[in-house]
Subunit: 174 residues, 2 copies
């Protein structure tokens, strides 16, 4: 149920419409919690019905600007303080590693080399992202987004190193 809290969090700094929120998702949260348009609109309706958001203003083209209510803010804090994050439990990438034995050695090595490449590519993409963001403006999202970005940089580096190590392991077998 984290989409709920992602929306609440994005509304802390300023009210916004569903359309605005989609853009905020695509820019700031794209790498940690992507959401589709249809999901966002549906959840906003439900959040408003539950009293965690309210329609603060209406604009042209049926635009509805949602604002956080006190209950919404309280719920966001409750989520952060009282509930444990759930780590992702599934990894398509690692599942495949278990079954590498059905391939011949060359194919298995190609798979692991591919992992290394993709990790390196992601590392590069994150470095570019770091350059492109205007960190100066401050605000909660950019301050803490920076921490998240560093996580991504370290994670992609770790994956690349692991994949290169795994290549060596497979090469040394037999």
């Amino acid at each position: 149920m984290s989409l709920r809290h992602a929306l609440l969090g994005l509304l802390v700094d300023a009210p916004a419409s569903g359309y605005d929120l989609m853009k905020r998702f695509d820019t700031s949260l794209a790498n940690v919690w992507p959401a589709t348009q249809s999901q966002v609109y549906g959840e906003l309706t439900r959040l408003a019905a539950a009293g965690l958001l309210e329609v603060a203003a209406e604009g042209p083209r049926g635009r509805k600007e949602y604002a956080l209510t006190d209950e919404g803010f309280a719920e966001l804090r409750r989520w952060l303080v009282d509930t444990q994050p759930e780590p992702p439990r599934r990894s398509d990438t690692l599942l495949r590693v278990f079954f590498l034995g059905v391939l011949d050695r060359e194919q298995a090595l190609a798979y692991l080399a591919g992992m290394a490449e993709r990790a390196a590519g992601e590392h590069g993409a994150l470095e570019e992202l770091e350059q492109s963001i205007d960190w100066g403006e401050g605000g909660m999202l950019s301050t803490n987004g920076r921490l998240a970005l560093e996580f991504g940089l370290r994670f992609s580096a770790m994956r690349e190193e692991w994949a290169r190590w795994a290549v060596q392991q497979v090469e040394q077998q037999r």
Copy 2:
């Protein structure tokens, strides 16, 4: 659709019933692709209907032993060779990091410290797992499971280091 391929992969070495497969999931794949009983039985039926598995034997209590067909084996290889793994895109843990600004400093630090602790705990659990597994017996799963385990060890270590670094960052703010 990776559950499909997880089941095919687990059936490479030997035929098994849904019940057996659940146990294999819980032991070998628990950390990369957990599955529930109801999911497994449903998918086995669909895989057999699609001709990727066949009921090789029936036993007491309605037991059905499934075996990989040639098409099933081909599909497993096709998946490994021709399709790209999808990395997980959502991280509850990192989503929360974005919103740490709504908490006061002590609470934010407590959250990050909690991340470090959980990562350290997972690292310890994986080390114990490494000890407890009988690596000698060989077989595809244990050989490659070892690679996956090393990934887990590196990943949990990385997370702990990142969380400790993030604590410092937050402490140094202002």
